[in-house]
Symmetry: C2
Subunit: 444 residues, 2 copies
Amino acid sequence: MQKILILGAGLSASSLIKYLLDRSEEYQWKIRIGDLSLETAQRKINNHPHGEAFLFDVSNLEQCNAEVAQADIVVSMLPASMHFSVAKACVEYGKNMVTASYVSKEIQGLQEQALEKNNIILNEMGVDPGIDHMSAMKVIDRLKSQGAEIIEFYSATGGLVAPKYDNNPWNYKFTWNPRNVVLAGQGTSMYIKNGLYKYIPYHKLFQRLLRTNILNYGEFEMYPNRDSLKYREIYGLANIPSMYRGTIRRPGFSRAWNVFVQLGCTDDTFIIEDSENMTNRQFINSFLKYETNISVEDKLAKYLGIAEDSEIMYRLRWLGVFENTPISLARATPAQILQHILLKKWVLAEDDKDMIVMQHRFVAKMEGKTQEILSSMVVEGSDQTHTAMSKTVGYPVAIATKMILTGQIKARGVKLPIDSCIYEPILSELETLGISFIEEEREI
Amino acid sequence: MQKILILGAGLSASSLIKYLLDRSEEYQWKIRIGDLSLETAQRKINNHPHGEAFLFDVSNLEQCNAEVAQADIVVSMLPASMHFSVAKACVEYGKNMVTASYVSKEIQGLQEQALEKNNIILNEMGVDPGIDHMSAMKVIDRLKSQGAEIIEFYSATGGLVAPKYDNNPWNYKFTWNPRNVVLAGQGTSMYIKNGLYKYIPYHKLFQRLLRTNILNYGEFEMYPNRDSLKYREIYGLANIPSMYRGTIRRPGFSRAWNVFVQLGCTDDTFIIEDSENMTNRQFINSFLKYETNISVEDKLAKYLGIAEDSEIMYRLRWLGVFENTPISLARATPAQILQHILLKKWVLAEDDKDMIVMQHRFVAKMEGKTQEILSSMVVEGSDQTHTAMSKTVGYPVAIATKMILTGQIKARGVKLPIDSCIYEPILSELETLGISFIEEEREI
């Protein structure tokens, strides 16, 4: 029996674990699942005879090494910062590894050791990063093989709520780590457009929007995502004049979110004085000028140049940020307080389903014509466990794990899924699981 | 002979060195001055028989320890980050020390050792921090002794150019470290007004201005300076309802500077691609949207909501930021490029003189009345060496050094100049050197 070691059994691991357990009899796998909560690991296994739960603490190096030593392959679904100690154990004991996270410099540094041991450390196998790379490379490789010159590549992804359950004025609910949503976009975003580099500081990001239509799901907006420039090399498009990666939201979200950015409410670097005795309204007021005889609402609208009866103000009021609700969080940063307020409103209801949308837009010159190619994916969640996020993150990881075990993926070293020998079979199987791309093409 | 060790002989040390050399015969001091440039140290000594220059490298711990061991008192005018290794040597060898920089947590941590060795490590003895503390505490202690309740305290300082030489549209020239000017205000500024905490993110800082008049020097504006809250405790004003510390500029400076902040030109965290082949105009354009058929000037004005014929645009044009001047700086951050552009324009001419302005504003309740007390200082530079900055930083350091050597300052431990036994004699002597405060008082 081949032994699969899965580290981390949180929400994002549900579909991954189910996929592997469902096939464990056929492939004769034994699946050991470790989590800081034994109960979480047990619940995910649900008494499956091929599964085995154990209490796992990544900071216990001895345990980490012992577990890795006994496995045939290791799947790390731990928080991104914890992958490295697992990866080190993997190259030490000559084990293959799969993660859904961005490859870190430290893990990249294991390249030689991994090759020496004939291992693969396969990173960025989730949805974004993961499915985005695979589906983009499929189109890029095809266009190149057709002799096309790719002159524009836009790629964007969003985790949203499925249309049927999309019933709040933000058209948004938390379907993933709320902290990451509150902190999203901090730093400088950079991309290139017609050969000109463009840099956008955080405080301008949510005003620099593009619009798109995705299949029959209607209108979306997007804002650029940190460093789009480095993907030119990764995707083999070193000289492309336009390259942009973005985050997708429903229209209107970003300009309303921008209010929190402008005020400073997303700052995670300092503690608000006496936060435990503050109300939502006082929190907002602490970022506004001291002025009496004017309401906090009017002051905010005036400060940011927003009409008092605008959609933006309506979205803010709906969140309750102007209410005198006690915050009751001691020694909290602005970002923590904002997250606390949002968690009450942007919550998925029991029967709500999430949705992942992704769209690539290419412009390519070929045989004297200029073609626009859209490649779009929409995945809706099946239920609260097998969410769109859990499926799109977990299935590619699971399929890659299977294909490494069966020898179908033969690549070695520290890898991203950008080679056709990896992405082709995985994208094919994802289609059978309801994760597929629809292409639209037109001459422009 | 008592031995004074001065480490660092840069611009800020000129007046300090002259003050001590001028009195070295009278007090029988031997003054050893170390700098990374032997020539700089020699120039400052100018063959004075009591002075001795040597090549000093603070990273050479052995040299640092040997020099400190031979001294009676150490004056560190090194960059702030380098004080700690000097301070450690001082407490090890039982030597007194004076610096003009903010006390760091590491230096604060030497308190017990300093007391054991009966040493004083006297920090924040320059102008800001330094003269600001001393002159503020003088008024605070007097008001308290009169039974007054201080309900507001505003304190602000600015390094500017003297009126006669103030001949550019920014009313500003570099009189101090240009890098610090470009990066000024990054982070969050916080103060308290009538009991309400106020937080201002960097991207709003240069739009949240106050105005003031200083003596017969006319109008100035100010913006708040990082953490004003912690000074409540330092100044013994724990429960004061309004406390604000700011930076002073001439009116109009901040709103024009804000353009660079809004664009992202002051960011020091990433490298601009291909910066060596860029022009000023392309640099500015890289922060603006991609739009053809509209000039960079119009695009900027539209993006930031500024009238094309406004004072702000005039100030920007005057700087040459829209010109096709090559930048010729390889692998530079936006902040480095901006500094490079500004250095050509905000330069002090040969005969220009600088100016330091400082103003405290107190509101105090006393015997049923509410009094406003303004305490203001303006110091102009004497020449390009004995600038206002050099005098206001150097004289308090020099006087404190003298008073520790003569036993007039008896305080021990890690100290700021907030005790009357330190600030009283120093402020008195500063008056004889032309550094004095004028008080204005009125009932409000």
